[in-house]
């Protein structure tokens, strides 16, 4: 105690404070035990919109946020109601969710699984969000889905295309409306075979991470089943900005199709580079060399400019669809913001509506009740035709669009044209399909 500066007076002071501290709990009003995590008790219910606001996908995140805000307006009975009017389920009244006004908080995922989880946690712990939604990459979606499972809230996935989200990493509290790599392959392969012939030799360039691999495997399996041969599949680093050294070796093979399993900036650069190296003009064995981009995103495709003309790919939804749901959505989004929505905007809008509707039908915000209401739910009128939320893996099964870069765009938004709508049956797979095996939904967790 030689260094201590404790004095009798100091000690008395300390014990007085400690005494007060012990006495304090009597005046505390301890928070009541909730039935489940963040049970909304007041007149409002809070949703957490967790999207990339910084980093390479910030524009897609911004578009998702716009759609979320629109969905909240419509749920609260403001605006023109959008797809609420065309949605086959009529449980939603336009008076919020279960009579509670919908409020929201936003956060930045930075497209990093760490940051996304931190942001989602703050929504759950600080803002009392009862549902988390968003994301624009599979890594982030899977990470946040895992968190929501642990925390006991519902996760409505945004833009995530990897098979794993509803495959080996599926979770009882997580739901995906967006399509996946397997579906891209199943929808795209017949169109490719019909247009380019069934004896093509494909060369794959694949982003070297989980999503890239699942897409490569899916496309390979689907095309090889129709008679294509895979000459080579080369992994490219995610950090690559210039793909010339991966594209030039293509020239030296007898491949006549290049498949770019890239997304975002990687896709823009690899496609631009491929066109620069004259692959579009190349002739192999008397046939035109073709390039395929299995997952198209209109927002990103803009970055590739003219290079996307005539290139085939698949997409979850496109604003040029003319069904009642799509038209209603494009109209209310376009009127509010002045440009048409992207597929990311569409999927998150649908997810918000589907969640709200499930709450209404279940009569509770309890994740277990909501999950039950979503499982096996069949609906229509949200722009993708008849859709089912499969109970086995919480994946939506619906038609998939095969699109082509438009040759004569009339505006800066008019980049893609739908060449075929592949019916849902053709892209449906068994829940135990090897590409999706190894996962376990587990039990729903209400916290």
């Amino acid at each position: 105690m030689s260094n201590s500066n404790f004095t009798r007076r100091g000690l008395l002071k300390t014990s007085a404070v400690a005494g007060a501290g012990v006495a304090l709990p009597t005046i505390f009003t301890a928070s009541s035990a909730a039935a489940y995590t963040n049970e909304p008790t007041g007149g409002t219910v809070t949703l957490g919109f967790n999207v990339p606001q910084t980093g390479p996908y910030a524009d897609e995140g911004a578009d998702e946020l716009r759609a979320y805000q629109l969905a909240v307006e419509h749920l609260n009975g403001e605006g023109d109601g959008g797809m609420l009017n065309t949605f086959s389920s009529k449980a939603l009244q336009g008076n919020g969710i279960l009579g509670k006004k919908v409020e929201y908080v936003t956060g930045d995922t930075q497209t990093k699984s760490d940051a996304a989880r931190a942001s989602a946690k703050s929504m759950i712990e600080k803002d009392g969000a009862v549902m988390i939604t968003g994301g624009s990459s599979s890594g982030v979606a899977i990470a946040v889905q895992g968190l929501c499972q642990e925390a006991g809230v519902i996760f409505m996935a945004g833009l995530t295309h990897s098979n794993d989200t509803t495959g080996k990493d599926k979770k009882a509290n997580g739901f995906r409306h967006f399509f996946n790599a397997y579906m891209s392959g199943a929808a795209l392969a017949p169109v490719l075979a019909a247009r380019y012939g069934s004896d093509r030799k494909a060369y794959h360039l694949t982003a070297d991470y989980t999503w890239g691999w699942t897409q490569e495997a899916s496309i390979k399996a689907a095309t090889e089943a129709l008679g294509w041969e895979t000459v080579n599949a080369v992994k490219t680093p995610l950090s690559a900005t210039d793909f010339s050294s991966y594209i030039t070796p293509v020239l030296q093979t007898d491949a006549d199709v290049l498949v770019l399993n890239h997304y975002g900036g990687n896709m823009v650069n690899s496609l631009t580079n491929a066109v620069q190296f004259g692959l579009r003009e190349k002739q192999v064995n008397g046939r035109n060399f073709e390039i395929v981009v299995p997952l198209f995103s209109r927002l990103m495709a803009r970055g590739a400019g003219e290079n996307i003309k005539g290139i085939l790919g698949s997409t979850n939804w496109h604003w040029s669809l003319t069904d009642a749901g799509s038209a209603a959505f494009v109209k209310s989004f376009g009127t509010k913001y002045g440009f048409p929505p992207s597929q990311a905007a569409h999927t998150v809008y649908c997810q918000t509506l589907l969640y709200a509707d499930a709450c209404e039908r279940a009569g509770t915000h309890n994740p277990c009740g909501v999950g039950e209401a979503l499982e096996g739910f069949e609906f229509d009128g949200l722009g993708n035709g008849k859709t089912i939320y499969r109970a086995d893996d919480h994946q939506c099964f619906k038609d998939v669009l095969v699109v082509k870069g438009k040759d004569n765009p009339t505006s800066e938004f008019d980049l893609l044209e739908v060449v075929e709508i592949t019916p849902a049956e053709q892209v449906t797979y068994d829940p135990n399909h090897p590409m999706f095996a190894g996962g376990n939904l587990g039990q729903c967790n209400a916290g």
């Binding site: 105690m1 030689s2 260094n3 201590s4 500066n5 005046i27 505390f28 009003t29 301890a30 928070s31 606001q53 910084t54 910030a58 995140g61 911004a62 946020l65 805000q69 929201y104 908080v105 936003t106 956060g107 930045d108 990093k112 699984s113 760490d114 940051a115 989880r117 931190a118 942001s119 946690k121 703050s122 712990e125 600080k126 990459s137 599979s138 890594g139 899977i142 990470a143 895992g146 968190l147 499972q149 642990e150 794993d164 990493d169 070297d208 991470y209 989980t210 999503w211 992994k235 680093p237 995610l238 950090s239 190894g438 376990n440 587990g442 039990q443 967790n445």
Partner: protein
């Protein structure tokens, strides 16, 4: 007491008090008020403050004392996280084995990387550490996916063996991390009036470790070993002439700070059982450098302060969206409101990076010693006004000037 002199003891007690009272101090605004947005007293962020505080304290042992600027410290953070999550997968959800393995593994990594990198000094050393960390990141993201689970990050699943612990919790989920039965996720919410405070077990676990880490670093700063490290910083050549070999000392400092980083990584995984490769990216290494410089290089409190400020901006500013802005500025006339919101949008929500960039510039331009110097200036300003003489320069040692600038 505890081998510290009176001043240091007082300092440690203040730090301990501040750390333990954090859940109250960071929740200054009542719930439901417009300023509640700025409250930071929720478990996840408080845990991050403590954990990144540890990371920065450790980094400061290397950079603050020896002057060696490592640009690859995030690699050790990542190694720590991966080790801890693997322990949760294989052994049990008890955090202790995870933390122990995290510290050991990161120490080993630091030994190897340090041994190689410390053969060079100055910017050559920085680039060597950067190169090692970037290689770890790139490989963890791609080729090493079987070990790291790549892009998705390593997570605990229901199928993991967990030979010593529970494989599946009673409710059919992955069990939570715990410390001999104390659940890290457990929290008690206590409302006083319209204030609500959250006391979380996880935070107090981190906080106690952070205090211990702080105490150890204080001891290192005051020890003969610390003095030797400072000698290396001020003039390595002269040290060599006296017949002393500096490298074992710098290597020891490198390994210690690597272990601190590993501990921080292990704690991150203990609070939230996920290890993502981005933790090793150069931006993450850069972040701890920024934390340390922002707070004040070579000071005890600076790095912790810097870590707090950066994490606060990342988590609080990014959540201010235009809905919130409209609530705040709704009382202004429409035209003025839109101008104010237009200006504010650059700095909050998706523009939060801008705020951090501007802050870095302002701090380094006006407060060359970092935030700690700002605190000192305010303190001395009040002292001078009261006419009291200033004491206690020891606790915030001025940064030793770099040699041969």
């Amino acid at each position: 007491m505890l081998g510290l002199d009176k001043k240091d003891m007082k300092f440690l007690l203040i730090v301990t008090f501040l750390t333990l009272a954090t859940p109250i101090l960071l929740q200054p605004f009542p719930e439901g008020s417009g300023l509640a947005q700025f409250n930071a007293g929720y478990p996840d962020l408080m845990q991050r403050f403590a954990i990144f505080g540890i990371f920065a304290i450790g980094f400061n042992i290397l950079f603050g004392l020896t002057g060696y600027l490592s640009f690859g410290h995030a690699a050790f953070l990542g190694v720590g996280s991966y080790s801890a999550v693997w322990m949760f997968k294989l052994l049990s959800m008890n955090v202790l084995p995870g933390l122990v393995l995290a510290v050991i593994m990161s120490g080993l990594f630091a030994l190897v990387i340090g041994y190689v990198s410390l053969r060079r000094s100055g910017i050559y050393f920085s680039i060597l550490t950067l190169a090692f960390a970037q290689m770890s990141y790139n490989l963890a993201y791609s080729v090493l996916t079987p070990i790291t689970n790549g892009e998705t990050g390593l997570q605990v699943t229901l199928n993991d063996p967990r030979i010593l612990g529970q494989q599946v919790s009673a409710s059919g989920n992955v069990p939570g991390t715990h410390f001999f039965g104390i659940e890290m996720g457990a929290a008690q919410k206590i409302a006083i009036g319209s204030w609500e405070f959250t006391f979380s077990a996880g935070y107090y676990f981190c906080a106690i470790i952070a205090i211990i880490a702080f105490y150890l670093s204080l001891r290192i700063f005051r020890s003969p070993f610390g003095l030797m490290l400072r000698a290396i910083k001020s003039n390595q050549q002269r040290l060599n002439y006296t017949g002393l070999n500096a490298r074992p000392y710098t290597l020891a400092a490198f390994v210690i700070s690597g272990m601190y980083a590993g501990l921080a990584g292990g704690l991150l995984a203990s609070m939230d059982p996920l290890a993502g490769a981005e933790r090793m990216q150069w931006t993450a290494s850069g972040e701890v450098v920024l934390m340390t410089i922002l707070g004040g290089v070579g000071t005890m409190m600076g790095p912790v302060l810097g870590a707090g400020v950066i994490k606060y901006m990342e988590n609080i500013f990014s959540k201010i969206n235009d809905q919130v802005l409209h609530q705040w500025f709704g009382w202004l006339p429409d035209s003025l409101e839109s101008i104010v919101i237009w200006a504010a949008e650059h700095f909050v929500g998706s523009g939060w990076h801008m705020t951090s960039g501007v802050l870095f510039m302002i701090v380094v331009i006006f407060l060359p010693g970092g935030l700690v110097e700002g605190g000192q200036r305010i303190k001395s300003y009040f002292k001078n006004r009261r006419g009291g003489d200033s004491d206690d320069p020891e606790h915030h040692p001025k940064q030793a000037p770099h040699v041969a600038e």
